[in-house]
């Protein structure tokens, strides 16, 4: 906790409905955020049990500088992923970090299972177990509305909720945070569903006097000006991340139609600029972020004859335009927004859902599955059928959709088509077919995400790297992000928060820290994560990659499988050597 020498952890046992608070001095060595959450995961996980066993923990943590400086807005969730069976880690913005900070908790650990569906109401004074039986089965947006109207604290409250997908334990079910942000990847929604937790509200109103106002505000102001007055963050606010559609398409790195292509013939119609011109109606921010990268797009839906329309608004980002756009051959912004709406209501991770549907489409085309499995014909560009399929996944409508709900790696082991089930160690791919950086980086990354170590950025950098250099760069970046995620700075602001800025920000609130400390903390967190995945039985040697990575040309041509495997092996050896010492 800020200005204190301990990390305050709230333990909630859903089975017995008892809570416990621990103040842990030892956890201060991890700064906060992903450091604290990793340690708590290591201590509380049960590697021998199923990821969705009720004894498994779901952990939330804020960072050492959460909410007190601009763009330090994220909360981390850690759990065992039902999608990969190993380390689960996901980040969400919104108001959660601020409300946890104001409620006075650095971390929350949920274990057990509520006997009835419940929602948790967490405040500074208590944790209430509220009856959620009437909410069970509701779509994510409806749950938010009901709780918003019922609970006090408008404006300083955060509401997390799952949709039907989480209830039905879809392995990539997400948790919606404050309408437009999510714990997306790796299935935290299923973990909450397995615990009968439909929603969580956090309200905080703690008195937090500033220890050294002069020093603190000087640093606050300089960071605020840096992120608002300079171009450093402009890209995220203006067109937003969807600006990548045009550039990645031009590079031939935009995964299209289940990565059978790196360019989309209708890309011009779905660029960030096209969305901005036709659909963008609003921008929003996470609490404490003056940048405001959340882009809200609107479409009109005709629901009856006689000019009956409704206006529907949903958030959009690059990753969604790829996974529910080019990847499925969707040609217009309105149609992509419709798919996003379905994913929002059901509570699915947009990336995994789109990529899983890409595999299903090709499996259907190749005759591995038929109408009796898919229930609707699947073909690239068929928006309405994809909407049906999304609801079928969320509802686990039949054996096929139950399998697809466990991820396309799993579905392909049942139905065939592993060569084009596009995953990095069971986690569905991200939107960058840029080269070895993204493939190797995502495979070796602790959570198999493009955000683990930013391999796509290494691929796009001008600098040519040898295999060794690239492996080094990935390892170094992964560790640096462990440090940033212990604070927890939004990774969009990683360039604004260079080490000197981080150190200055820490010192202004009495955290005496040096450059070498940050390096040490980064290493410590990284090694904790590596221990967790080892305990969960993960080894890089066993990772199988779909052949298509090595068939479809991307930004850096056609990748060689042997080189890819060699680099993964080099990384594994580097980490093994570090872990021995």
């Amino acid at each position: 906790m800020l200005y204190e020498n301990t990390i305050k952890v709230l333990f909630v046992d859903l089975s017995s409905r008892k809570i416990r608070i621990e103040k842990r001095g030892d956890l201060k060595d991890f700064l906060g955020g992903v450091g604290v959450a990793s340690k708590l995961l290591e201590e509380n996980m049960k590697p021998e049990l199923d990821p969705l066993d009720e004894q498994q923990p779901a952990i939330f943590a804020i960072g050492a500088l959460s909410s007190i400086y601009p763009v330090i807005t994220k909360t981390v969730a850690m759990f065992i992923s039902p999608l990969t069976g190993e380390l689960g880690e996901s980040y969400a913005g919104g108001r959660l970090a601020l409300t946890l900070f104001m409620a006075g908790y650095d971390a929350v650990v949920l274990t057990g299972k509520s006997h009835n569906p419940c929602y948790l109401s967490i405040t500074r004074q208590s944790v209430e177990f509220m009856d959620a039986r009437p909410l069970w089965g509701m779509n994510s947006d409806e749950v938010g509305r009901v709780i918003r109207e019922k609970e006090a604290g408008s404006g300083k409250r955060s509401i997390l909720r799952i949709g039907p997908a989480g209830e039905n334990r879809v392995a990539y079910a997400s948790v919606c945070v404050d309408t437009y942000r999510h714990f997306g990847r790796l299935g935290l929604g299923a973990v909450l569903g397995s615990k009968n937790v439909k929603a969580i509200t956090v309200i905080g109103d703690r008195d937090i006097p500033i220890a050294n106002f002069k020093e603190y505000f000087k640093v606050y102001r300089s960071i605020y000006d840096k992120v608002t007055d300079t171009e450093i963050m402009m890209k995220y606010h203006d067109v937003g991340t969807p600006i990548n559609v045009a550039s990645l398409n031009a590079m031939g790195a935009l995964p299209t139609k289940n990565l059978s292509q790196g360019r989309f013939e209708h890309a011009d119609a779905i660029t960030g600029e096209a969305f901005a011109a036709n659909n963008l109606v609003r921008k929003l921010a996470c609490t404490g972020c003056p940048v405001g990268c959340i882009h809200i797009g609107q479409f009109r839906r005709e629901f009856g004859k006689g000019y009956e329309y409704e206006a529907v608004s949903v958030g959009y980002d690059y990753e969604l335009l790829f996974s529910l756009g080019s990847y499925l051959g969707i040609k217009t912004p309105d149609e992509i927004l419709k798919l996003i709406e379905a994913v929002e209501k059901t509570g699915l991770d947009a990336m995994s859902c789109g990529v899983a549907l890409g595999w299903a489409t090709e499996a259907y085309q190749k005759g591995l599955v038929s109408d009796s499995e898919t229930m609707v014909p699947l073909d690239f560009g068929l928006t309405e059928n994809y909407i049906s399929a999304i609801w079928h996944i969320a509802g686990a409508a039949n054996d096929f959709y139950s399998a697809l709900g466990r991820g396309c790696y799993h579905a392909a082991t049942v139905y065939g088509g592993r060569d084009f089930a596009m995953t990095f160690a069971k986690n569905e791919i991200s939107g960058y077919h840029t080269g070895y950086g993204i493939v190797v980086g995502s495979v070796v990354g602790a959570r198999h995400s493009h955000l683990c170590n930013g391999g796509y950025a290494i691929d796009q950098a001008q600098k040519q790297m040898s295999d060794h250099e690239m492996v080094d760069a990935l390892l170094q970046e992964e560790k640096e992000r462990c440090m940033l995620n212990s604070l927890i700075i939004c990774l969009f602001a990683r360039k604004a928060y260079d080490r000197a800025t981080v150190i200055g920000a820490c010192r202004a609130v009495g955290l005496e820290i040096e450059d070498s400390d940050l390096t040490q903390i980064a290493e410590k967190i990284f090694h904790t994560k590596m221990r967790i995945r080892e305990k969960l039985g993960f080894t890089l040697e066993n990772v199988q990659l779909p052949k298509r990575f090595f068939v479809t040309p991307g930004l850096n041509g056609v990748l060689d499988e042997t080189i890819t495997k060699k680099m993964i092996g080099m990384y594994a050896a580097r980490v093994a050597a570090e872990m021995e010492t």
């Binding site: 601009p70 900070f101 104001m102 404006g155 437009y180 109103d205 008195d207 106002f213 003056p290």
Partner: protein, 140 residues
């Protein structure tokens, strides 16, 4: 060589531009109350109907005629501010909360830790830290 001091008043004029970053609240609480807590801010940003609804600002309108909050104050702790609004004389305040009840806008907040109302003094720090020009200081 005398200069004319023009008292300025905060106006939340362009709230349709608001991105809900709460930088105004964070900076107000920090500068005026030396506190990290949003609850200490004299300006409150709320959503009308969740995040998909509109953002609204609840803040002192800077009344120039009768100040209902000052009128309701039994101990004379709220003093008319030149140009509009009031200033709080902390020593005279008993924490009775009559000012909060008297404000038709609900713009007088109460600091339950300090036992005193939170009164906007129209200092403009919130406008300085508004990234989207929703808040402006206007000559009164």
């Amino acid at each position: 060589m005398g200069s004319v001091i023009i008292a300025r008043i905060l106006k939340a004029k362009e709230m349709s531009r608001c991105i809900g970053c709460f930088s105004c609240m964070l900076s107000c609480a920090a500068v005026n109350q030396r506190n990290h807590s949003l609850a200490k801010s004299a300006i409150k940003i709320k959503t009308a109907g969740g995040l998909s609804g509109k953002m609204v600002a609840v803040v002192c309108a800077g009344c120039t005629g009768v100040r209902p909050c000052a009128e309701a104050c039994p101990s004379g702790a709220l003093i008319e501010r030149t140009g509009g609004g009031v200033l709080l004389s902390v020593d005279k305040c008993t924490g009775c909360q009559k000012c909060a009840a008297a404000c038709a806008l609900g713009a007088v907040f109460f600091d339950s830790d300090a036992g005193k109302p939170i009164i906007c003094k129209h200092c403009g720090v919130c406008a300085r830290f508004c990234p989207h020009e929703c808040l402006e200081m206007e000559d009164s």
